[in-house]
Symmetry: C2
Subunit: 435 residues, 2 copies
Amino acid sequence: MDSSQAERKKIIVIGGGLVGALNACFLAKRNFQVEIYEAREDIRVAQSVRGRSINLALSYRGRQALKAIGLEDQVVSQGVPMRGRMIHSLSGKRSVIPYGTKSQYILSISRKNLNKDLLTAVEKYPNAKVHFGHRLVKCSPEEGMVTVLGPDNVPKDVTCDLIVGCDGAYSTVRSHFMRKPRFDYSQQYIPHGYMELTIPPKCGEYAMEPNYLHIWPRNTFMMIALPNMEKSFTCTLFMPFDEFEKLLTSNDVLDFFQKYFPDSIPLIGEQALVQDFFLLPAQPMIAIKCSSFHLKSHCVLMGDAAHAIVPFFGQGMNAGFEDCLVFDELMDKFNNDFSMCLPEFSRFRIPDDHAISDLSMYNYVEMRSHVNSLWFIFRKNLERFLHAIMPSTFIPLYTMVTFSRIRYHEAVQRWHWQNKVHSIMKHRWIREKNK
Amino acid sequence: MDSSQAERKKIIVIGGGLVGALNACFLAKRNFQVEIYEAREDIRVAQSVRGRSINLALSYRGRQALKAIGLEDQVVSQGVPMRGRMIHSLSGKRSVIPYGTKSQYILSISRKNLNKDLLTAVEKYPNAKVHFGHRLVKCSPEEGMVTVLGPDNVPKDVTCDLIVGCDGAYSTVRSHFMRKPRFDYSQQYIPHGYMELTIPPKCGEYAMEPNYLHIWPRNTFMMIALPNMEKSFTCTLFMPFDEFEKLLTSNDVLDFFQKYFPDSIPLIGEQALVQDFFLLPAQPMIAIKCSSFHLKSHCVLMGDAAHAIVPFFGQGMNAGFEDCLVFDELMDKFNNDFSMCLPEFSRFRIPDDHAISDLSMYNYVEMRSHVNSLWFIFRKNLERFLHAIMPSTFIPLYTMVTFSRIRYHEAVQRWHWQNKVHSIMKHRWIREKNK
């Protein structure tokens, strides 16, 4: 198919969030006629939207996707580099565990700014259009049609050649996959919820070291803090819902913080802490797995709609962005032929998205309970050492996931092999220590 | 609540299959106003419906539920007792492994007859009504309303105090649970499909020993046969879909049966075998798990709608029937108060339904590959021996599941403990054998 043919094909993207907007850029760049339908108002003009995390960690996979549509430099310039974890112990002691080499870092990015930049980028393509305030009411992939409800409240049928579902964890598009023959599906809420709090700037400067992801690991729960460009930090408290439910009064909250996060109270401020704590209830976290991402050559899911994951590896957005990049690479390989690309996208990508889902669930335990053990620090040092002497043979899991495009499921396979080496070293290390 | 109050409450049961019809009997018996909406025509007048298994194994749990509505004797009189497994080896040798003691058996029952009997039983209650040919199009539990589409094709709103979803594995009622806060859900198809074949009577008599469940275990696949009242057997071939797909011609099918089930060919008949094989495609099998069976006090799921399981423990119908019985017991305990019964039903019943789901998946491997090993036969004998000398301490898993109402999840716990004993005995047995 040459580009003039491609131009005539119409693609509807459901959802104008991060993955939807990025995907629209990729597809518009290929000369398709692209229409995004987004249920909310334009975030560039509307009041801020609550209920989603405020900032995100951008790493290599996400950057490569942004690079492919020429947006990497702009986005990176608006991020705050984080070169390692800064662990806050109960006593207030802080220690650093680097993420990788001295030149490696992840970026703390504002969700809202990134989404704005992506929407503006989409609209620069004359063959792309974003319809805000349009809710999907019916999705008929076989007929190549969607029905949307705009501000005029009159249902409108729109035809297309392909529907791309980027409508997030609670995807309406995905609900049409449920009766697909032999479609396996699971959705699992973890017992933890999350809540966002803010550490404001102190005398116009960052109140803590800015170039780190701060972690307060407390075994069954934890708090983290990511720096923002405007010199504040956004803290996220992760805790089982039944623990959240025990904190009913201002005093409960202050006592709890005094007991577990005493160094954070002066940083957040007592009044703001109590006020923010009761502003919104704790939000749930869901992990979703599908055994197929496509319906024939009519419909494909990407991002959270295809594989919502828990946030503990900082890969949710990165995996979603890599979906778009992988799909774009397949469109090159199969010359824009949907009937080839869609099944291949499911076949190729699902093992990777399932792998990062499992790794994120694994890291959920690691971050809150292992990160402050001596063995964790020893292992991280050991990994760095082994990586330094055998850089292509031995790559730490975090490095493979965060600073490479090694396929997620291959990273897991290599990690299992490397763990055998660790295990041998651990026994020797324990023996040394006990001498 | 006294019975006059109960009488005024209206319950809508969605689905008039086995569980829906039985449930309606239980609820009508409690003096509620009960309305069943069933999408299909009345099976008592319509042509036979294909696509579901023809016969089922009724065991203790199912019988206890039928007993509670006074239907046990009638149903049992129409079943064929099966006292054990009859294993057909590749060489044609047959050996028997009893299910339990001499007086214990399961019953091969016709799905269609049982369903007819249950529907007739419902209609005997003046306060119950069955609406056939009515498809559920909308379910609004919070408003206490369903919208159904009858033969006149005009959507009709019906109000009620409780909606009971008994609409099977692909439940429409359940789809309204998907956005319930923190609702975990999974659906998993197994790689195997199933296909039904028939062994007709031979000279007016059963062509094989009637009082057994016949099994042809062949490791990755298997065939079973259950006796019918009219002296035929219904065979079910379980095999991975990709193996089914390899059998494209009559010769492929005959060669396959000649290789793996040679003794069955003269019983089924070459012509009928080939004809039936290509009549319908192999059917999928799905396992479904939900983390909640109820929505507030408005809606509850039972049977396959709540927990479709694979058929390898013969417990699908029995578990569904026990759901109704457990719910009935809770209605006694909580004096017909839905707001108490529904949450308690979820809390109490889910561990059991999840346990029988896992056991059925486990038996899927056991039936097709372990059942013909020496170790399996040794273990069954050992279990019978231990059960005989310690009848209340040591109960074989099969007995607990099939011939008792020990809660499924407790049966699993006891079984794990008993397995430790087995494991010790196994080592001794192997040592003896190798001497």
